[in-house]
Symmetry: none
Subunit: 200 residues, 4 copies
């Protein structure tokens, strides 16, 4: 990771990306140990920077976490937007949504964990709700390229709920279930809305 010239000792100044590295390392540590297990020491070790750098670059853990989750949310929202932009028409958008639920969103354990850590922070501290709120607004805006606002809102909630159930349920919905669900919400081919039925 050194700059590559002949510096035999540690590079001193030539590390402008240090701050960035710390943020990425922070996400990695949170993914592995949780916010509860994240400390300056662990992040410093993961980023391979001296411990003193932590409080030099960031005003404490809270500051660092806010930056880290800001980056995480931004990257996630960007992926979401890209998928919707790439979708040529409504059918492609439906495919993209299904794919988001079944592959993208919690494709990795890392994303699953980080998302919930962020939700947890947001649930307790309003400051983090800026992040989740922005994220959700961007998601809805992206969906609205293909769906009307009401449908978008319902679909957005469905995506949220299905990804969670896929991750935390021992009997998660299979892929065709996901497609059926999306189609029922957005209309179009697929199982018709359930007919009224009388409670037994």
């Amino acid at each position: 990771m050194p700059d590559g010239d002949g510096a035999p000792r540690r590079a001193r100044r030539a590390d402008p990306a240090r701050r960035d590295r710390i943020i990425d390392a922070c996400l990695a540590v949170v993914a592995e140990h949780g916010v509860a297990g994240t400390s300056h020491r662990r992040v410093a070790a993961a980023a391979d920077v001296p411990l003193g750098s932590m409080t030099y670059h960031f005003d404490g853990m809270e500051d660092l976490l806010r930056e880290a989750f800001g980056r995480f949310a931004e990257q996630f929202a960007a992926t979401f937007e890209r998928r919707m932009v790439e979708a040529a028409d409504r059918d492609a958008a439906v495919d993209a949504v299904v794919r988001l639920i079944t592959h993208d969103v919690f494709g990795t354990s890392r994303d699953l964990v980080l998302t919930h850590e962020l939700y947890t922070l947001a649930a307790r501290e309003p400051a983090y709700r800026t992040l989740t709120s922005t994220w959700m607004r961007r998601s809805r805006a992206a969906l609205e390229r293909h769906f009307d606002p009401t449908t978008t809102r319902i679909l957005d909630a469905l995506i949220e709920g299905m990804t969670i159930h896929r991750a935390l349920d021992s009997k998660p919905p299979v892929d065709t279930d996901v497609r059926d669900a999306v189609l029922r919400v957005v209309g179009g081919p697929g199982p018709a809305p359930a007919p009224p039925r009388t409670t037994p």
Copy 2:
């Protein structure tokens, strides 16, 4: 909290509900400080028991958290079931679901926080997935008293997603939005599934 008369020492045995009190105190501390900020000390103080009681009654923090969240999930699932059992017919069930989303589920900040803390634990450690998994199974079983399995699964995801968006979005769905969404998923009166529309 002894009776307050002249007892010079603290009462020794006279607290059979102590273990229960600790569990409740643990939930309170987690709700306020998060799992990250939950320590034996804080829980002991909240439960008004000596610090030594913590590791006497529980095999460490992990054990305590597991019990606490087990209790939490159980209580939550019971509320959910009650609502569904009390619903006389499908229409009442729809009302109940709307009410769950808009009032019950995250009626209090405490429940919101605890739910996400649990999800976060479950996201990282499979051991906690037993809890979330059971919880979700019970929810689905309760919904299936009124809705067919496919609808139930979609509805369950919708409930999950909508409660989250109501809590963490700065522009949450209003109550009528929630009702519209539920009705679209279960069928019946309400905005028809959106007609296909072409991407702009």
Copy 3:
């Protein structure tokens, strides 16, 4: 280890050997964890007795240790005496001494450890010197069945030192070295006492 009759639960009164069991368990724990790592809890667990029994039967750890090491020293001295008594003549006694050094004394890691733990206690607290002193007196008395007092004293020290060096030296004396050493001290066949030699 129940008494064998039909008592389905724990035997209450029918355990007169309990005190003995605790003492033996104490030695086992000390052998494994050292005096530093010996606690009432560990001994109770090893003896399979309730924790409360510890302070009921003994006046604290010190009391227990004194009894335990008393038993240990007694057993050890008895072995030593037996070897000397069994030796028919001086040659047999020499053989027995060699055997003591090379096999008996620290034949097991347990004995090695316990001996040194006892020496350590005796080095610090005079109370324990009663034990070591008695032990040494008995050893000398046993040796004096075959050797004169001066030789006995030298031989006794040699036994002590050789067993230690055998145990704690990475290049310990081999068995023939031991025999040679014993023979030089007691006289008789073997390498003659080293001739005077001038320091280089």
Copy 4:
């Protein structure tokens, strides 16, 4: 223990010998309370350093003990070597050995205790045997300046055993006994090896 002028806070950096002081304090605490009674707190208090320094400078108690006993063994072996180097000839070496047994080795209770504590650790944990083994090798090398290898080995064991018996026996060998023993082992003037005698 700063210089005492008006410094309101404690001096921060001005103690480069701190690590050394801790090691010495550790030996003092072990000598007084034994390994069993040695804790970070006691050592920190003895060295007059904050408790946090303990695990900052050493990777736990074990690490500290290893360093402390390493220093102890080194000092001890150095004394032994010095005595042998200073001895001009064999007779002087004999005198030096006698003096070692009767004065140097366990001249102080501190040395007696520390030696046995080290032996005890070495008896249980092979890691410490590196220390005892090196120590013994150095002793033998020093003795071999004056005595042949076989004699050296016997003499070394005799020294070991006699120092112990002097310390832990209520009827220890007097100084002339020691001299007689040494002379018998190394040969030369002194009581001849005991003549064979028949067991009664």
